[in-house]
Amino acid sequence: MKDKLIDLVNITKSFDGQTVLDELNLYIRENEFLTLLGPSGCGKTTTLRILGGFETPDSGQVIFNGEDITKLPPNKRQLNTVFQKYALFSHMSIAENIAFGLKIKGKSKTYIQDKIKYALKLVNLEGFEDRSPDSLSGGQQQRIAIARAIVNEPKVLLLDEPLGALDLKLRQDMQYELIRLKNELGITFIYVTHDQEEALTMSDTIVVMNQGYIQQIGTPEKIYNEPENAFVADFIGDSNIIPSLMVEDKLVKILGVPFKCVDTGFGKNKPVDVVIRPEDIDLVSPADGTMTGIVTHLIFKGVHYEMEVTANNFEWLVHSTDMVPVGTEVGIKVDPFDIQIMNKPVSEDEEAVGVEE
């Protein structure tokens, strides 16, 4: 287990009387690729801005390497930020942009020259020194913004939806680019996004946020396979969220039909929510299924077919590479470990809101 590098303790922040962050606690380890994921207004950008020093929390502390930096201005912090809209200095050349931080630190001319060369090579934009930022495409500007930040050798790089303005193909390329950069530089990345796919692809740790509260912290696999509440299940990928009854340990009644599962410790006859991912549902012959239903919709999605199966008055979302025609009677089967049991939401922020990308 690596050391804690940053510790956010009881951070609260409100704007114009509206609470954006409420008693937020989060720590970030050295060399981690941590993503703050959530819908707009969930507080993820505010958290990043507090880390960068552009906002001061109403209460709480930001601890960096054991030191309280809550009130330290941005220019005194060992972090650098890549902004959403790049924020390059349009009146300077690319080289001047990258050299900006180094000149302030009073580095020698040759050191700066070397660093510019190194940074441009790292982001695959060699020979761009004398170009003006306005002459670059969005993706290129974003790389320059990254280069400008990393030449300062920050301990932590903060990235505020840096790929948001790019088109899909470029976005995917940049995701691999960022993973490569992170591995080459060996520094901590804190990444803000509302795109669940981006978060799953790049992160070591994902922090899912909603309405100013952290919903779940975990690895991409854990977040996807074992969502802790309806909001997380719904926000990350497609899912069937079904109100159910936990009969006893390892047995849950879904839509009145008993299913074997692997979860324990919920007590007896307790109402719960069950999450089943669409790709975890097997469509079998009616005789072999735990439950039977009729296929009502069929859409070809490329990699798989998306089907809707009506069974016990519930519309099951099913993904499968095998096509089953509309109107077919099928059996529904789910492996016990593919059934994820969650407690019922206890507050509004834990509820599913149907936000799908």
Binding site: G52, F54, P73, N75, L88
Partner: protein, 271 residues
């Protein structure tokens, strides 16, 4: 397309009748003598000591006024741009309010205020303070120019600053710049188009004014505008007046060309 061209008709007529033809007339009068024969004499009149002095005073006073306007306007524009829209629009209103009053009236008001037995001196007398004796001096003219033209400096700078991306400033801070460096390396260079626009909009009318120098200078201080006015009205010599106007026009175009060289974005041509 044809219809759109038609829409430009009224303006075209207006500009031909009241801009192009008068300009050509000024060129004609400026390059002829009273008998209508071609001559450079009217242009050469600028080299007489009195006229050179008038041009020099005009340049000096308008440069000083422009600098004072800039020094007053920039901090104000910065404060305004940092405030929320509802707060700043009130302050902008206070600034624009006087502009709704006629410019001559406002200048006349200053004359009354500054007079030896005027309002300001009466108050100073009551308070047993030394009286303010600046009416009919260059100081009064500068005061009048700054008062009249300050809004034209504030607004273009404010417009540029309000459009400045906050994250660009944050980026500079993030890269280690303190507020002083951020201002001189980032904010000031990025607001140059507004500054140049403001300079243009203050310097040009200040250079050519004759009303302010007439009313607040008591006719003792002649600026080039006054000389041209006198040539037309008192001397009834349209030829000399036109010749000097041509010189002044060329002088303004040249100085604006120098200013425009520093204005890469071309936003400063707002006059």
């Amino acid at each position: 397309m044809k219809n759109k061209k038609l829409l430009a008709g009224p303006y075209l007529f207006w500009s031909v009748a009241f801009v192009v033809i008068p300009l050509l007339m000024i060129v004609y009068y400026g390059l002829t003598d009273t008998s209508g024969a071609f001559t450079w004499d009217n242009i050469a009149k600028i080299t007489t000591p009195e006229n050179l002095k008038a041009l020099g005073i005009a340049v000096l006073l308008s440069v000083v006024s422009t600098v004072i306007c800039l020094l007053l306007a920039y901090p104000l524009a910065m404060i305004l741009s940092a405030k929320s829209v509802s707060q700043s629009s009130f302050i902008v209103l206070i600034f624009i309010l006087p502009m709704w009053m006629n410019f001559l009236l406002r200048t006349l008001a200053w004359q009354t205020l500054l007079e030896k037995t005027g309002v300001i001196n009466s108050i100073l007398n009551v308070l047993h303070l030394p009286s303010l004796d600046i009416i009919n001096t260059p100081y009064a003219i500068i005061l009048g120019m700054v008062y009249n033209f300050l809004p034209f400096m504030v607004l273009p700078i404010y417009n540029v600053l309000i459009k400045l991306d906050r994250d660009v400033i944050n980026a500079a801070r993030d890269l280690g710049a303190n507020s002083r460096t951020t201002f001189f390396k980032i904010i000031l260079p990025l607001s140059m188009p507004g500054i140049i626009s403001g300079i243009t909009m203050v310097f040009v009318p200040a250079l050519t004014t004759f009303v302010i120098s007439d009313l607040l200078g008591g006719g003792k201080i002649l600026m080039i505008g006054n000389v041209i006015e006198q040539a037309f009205k008192q001397g009834s010599n349209w030829n000399v007046g036109s010749g000097l106007s041509l010189v002044l026009m060329i002088f303004i175009i040249a100085s604006m060309a120098v200013v425009a060289k520093y204005d890469k974005d071309g936003e400063g041509t707002a006059f």
